[in-house]
């Protein structure tokens, strides 16, 4: 099993500012650049620790928000390409449909891959709805723009015989010819994240790695859809290495310490959705039919997306943002306690959803301290990771 750590590199000091939105509109006067600098150095130290512990990096980006200072995932990856030596670095991801210049994305990716000597995993995401505001990307036909950007970036990474031209619906280039080209051939492994079964098909058809974030047990349905399309397209193996699950993790020397850290990590869920109503569901981000059905049910024009936690048997528990640690654990979105307990919880989840090779943990969020974060990561690396790897290896042999 491959293990990844994630933090959104938050700026928690601003989370207490009385504002209706932590995203899009929160004035950056609440950001003290000296504090931001200290935080970035601290988070970079944690990436280096991951490198020493054999935990892969999982870095993402958000915009105009105190919940995630990384407004350019490639900048942080570029630094990590040099300061880490061993582990994989997953970008998940790059909101390619929101970037105005996909060729520039391909250029940046190639640099990172070359400096890291081929340690980059390249994740593309559509991006959360409210980010069409800072990026100004039209939410209408956003999926089409995403796939055109994808096609263009893949072609830019894999064309080696001089310039090609591109005259598409969304992008125009007279001469694409990136230097350097990626270290990994033909290109770094591609990941794409999805939240609904409907979005899984195309990812499976490309045999890309499926990223799932904030799903809990709903991941089971997404994995089943991937496996279905996988078989449908002629594969006979189990695509475990194409499936990824992401959850919160908090390990302590005692159960009490683990649960205390879990409560800190939970700050992510409590703050993540604080965004003005106007930005929650931009026009065209979700299909009109889905919007209409949700509207008739709820009377609200909010995003028709499932924000609920579910029990293992599919029973609704509560909304993400209202969940307690105990409820989040019950919903398979938090593995917390002692190393033994965390291991058992992950294995139980793994077996419930049918298995996956990539396990991602958000082990830092909000104001969780450097000391707590490092200790939780060390405990995981020492007592959980080897057992997960052993479990996965033996399972693979058995299968």
């Amino acid at each position: 099993m491959k293990i990844y750590h994630m933090t959104e590199e938050p700026y928690p000091d601003a989370w207490s500012v009385p504002a209706e939105s932590l995203r899009v509109t929160l004035p950056n006067k609440y950001c003290d650049p000296k504090i931001a600098s200290d935080l970035f150095h601290r988070y970079l130290d944690e990436w280096v620790l991951c490198d020493e512990l054999g935990i892969n990096l999982f870095i993402n980006e958000h915009h105009a928000t105190a919940t995630c200072m990384t407004s350019s995932v490639n900048v942080i990856l570029g630094i990590c390409a040099r300061i880490t030596k061993n582990v994989r670095m997953l970008c998940l991801g790059m909101p390619i449909g929101n970037r105005s210049d996909p060729v520039r994305v391909a250029e940046e990716i190639a640099i990172i891959d070359v400096i890291s000597r081929g340690r980059l995993d390249l994740g593309f995401v559509r991006g959360v709805p409210y980010e069409v505001v800072p990026s100004n990307a039209n939410p209408v036909r956003g999926v089409d723009r995403f796939w055109e950007a994808h096609d263009l970036i893949v072609k830019a990474m894999t064309s080696h015989d001089g310039p090609f031209s591109w005259e598409g619906e969304f992008y125009n280039y007279r001469s694409v010819n990136i230097w350097p080209r990626p270290y990994q051939q033909p290109h770094p492994p591609i990941w794409i994240s999805a939240n609904t079964p409907g979005s899984v098909r195309r990812i499976a058809e490309h045999a890309y790695v499926l990223g799932t974030v904030m799903t809990g047990y709903r991941a089971k349905g997404l994995f089943e859809e991937y496996r279905r399309v996988w078989r449908e397209t002629g594969h006979t193996s189990d695509p475990l290495d194409r499936l990824c699950y992401c959850s919160f993790v908090a390990v302590g020397k005692t159960e009490e310490e683990g649960l205390r850290r879990a409560d800190q990590v939970m700050q992510y869920l409590r703050s993540n959705a604080i965004v003005s109503d106007a930005f929650k569901n931009p026009p065209g981000y979700a299909p009109a039919v889905a919007n209409a059905q949700a509207f008739l049910k709820t009377g609200s024009i909010g995003l028709p997306q499932d924000h609920n936690l579910y029990d293992k048997d599919g029973t609704r528990i509560c909304l993400f943002r209202e969940a307690t640690v105990e409820q989040t654990m019950r919903g398979g979105l938090m593995f917390a306690g002692t190393a033994d307990q965390v291991y058992e919880q992950i294995i139980d989840f793994y077996q419930t959803v049918g298995g996956f090779e990539h396990f991602q943990m958000m082990a830092q969020a909000g104001s969780m301290s450097h000391e707590d974060t490092c200790d939780s990561l060390r405990l995981f690396a020492k007592y959980v990771k080897p057992r997960l790897e052993e479990f996965y290896a033996s399972r693979s042999v058995a299968a």
Binding site: N138, S276, A292, Q293
Partner: protein
């Protein structure tokens, strides 16, 4: 995908609703337009605002009392098709020039409200061959202020209650009751939202070049302005009128951004008076 409302449309006396296909009459890519028609008299093409077409009494009845009222849903709005290639207001302008030709209309009064005013202006700068007069009610579509001053409130960044307060003289006039909606109406609501974003997301609610073409409009033009509009300022409306040769500017009291909804009788009367004056002017010229 099915997006046609199965429910009977809101019926007005003598109204017909048809799905008009340009391919029936013109060698064009097939395009289905939802088209309402009512009344008789001089032809009047009504181009609806950004929140779509609600073809209903009293405004439609008041206009249909004097005109042959023709009101399409713009491509992507209501039950009108949105061809995959369509993406700009230019496409809408050409669609309506095709429609006027296909319906063999002459001396048409083109009336556009809000976003529909933008579409109407884009039509008129291209050709007034079949148009005898232009009425723009609280139109958007041009850039007036400097680059750091937005002329039009960003409807995509404004929550619903505030949007109603800014758009209407009386916000109750814009309230939507979800519990009373049919599936088709709910779908229309979200198709409309999506379509306006497609056409007006960026540059926001305007074409940077339209202002420089407005001098080409060579038919009598009336700019009506619902006084309570807080989405766009009255000075913007006056600037719009000033850019069109000979255009008149008149305010409509007790109405906001959608004067046809909030002051339907006055809206129809102003258009009728404009139409009569225009005819008289034309008569004295000949």
């Amino acid at each position: 995908m099915c997006w046609t409302d199965e429910k009977k449309p809101r019926i007005l006396i003598g109204m017909t609703q048809t799905i008009f296909r340009t391919a029936d009459k013109l060698p064009l890519p097939r395009l289905s337009l939802e088209l309402y028609e009512a009344g008789s008299g001089p032809p009047l093409l009504f181009l609806h605002p950004e929140n779509g077409l609600r073809f209903e009494a009293p405004w439609a009845e008041d206009l249909a009392a004097h005109f042959r009222l023709i009101a399409p849903s713009h491509p992507g709005f209501g039950a009108s098709e949105l061809p995959r290639w369509m993406a700009t207001v230019d496409d809408l302008a050409y669609t309506y020039l095709d429609l006027l030709k296909a319906l063999e209309l002459k001396d048409v009064i083109v009336v556009g409200v809000g976003f529909g005013g933008w579409v109407a202006a884009e039509i008129a700068v291209r050709s007034t061959e079949r148009i005898s007069g232009l009425v723009l009610a609280n139109p958007v579509g041009i850039k007036v202020s400097d680059r750091e001053t937005r002329d039009i409130v960003d409807i995509f960044a404004t929550a619903q209650p505030e949007l109603l307060r800014l758009s209407y003289h009386d916000p109750a006039n814009g309230q939507v009751d979800a519990s009373a909606m049919t599936e088709g109406e709910a779908l229309t609501l979200f198709r409309n939202r999506e379509a306006i974003a497609l056409f007006a997301w960026s540059p926001y609610m305007h074409s940077p070049r339209l202002k420089y073409h407005l001098h080409r409009i060579d038919v009598p033009t009336l700019v009506l302005w619902g006084e309570s509009d807080q989405l766009v300022s009255q000075s913007y409306g006056r600037a719009f009128a000033a850019a069109i040769p000979g255009a008149r500017f008149e305010t409509v009291p007790a109405a906001g951004h959608f004067p046809h909804v909030e002051a339907p009788r006055l809206f129809a009367e102003r258009i009728l008076a404009f139409s009569n004056t225009k005819r008289a002017a034309k008569g004295s010229e000949s």
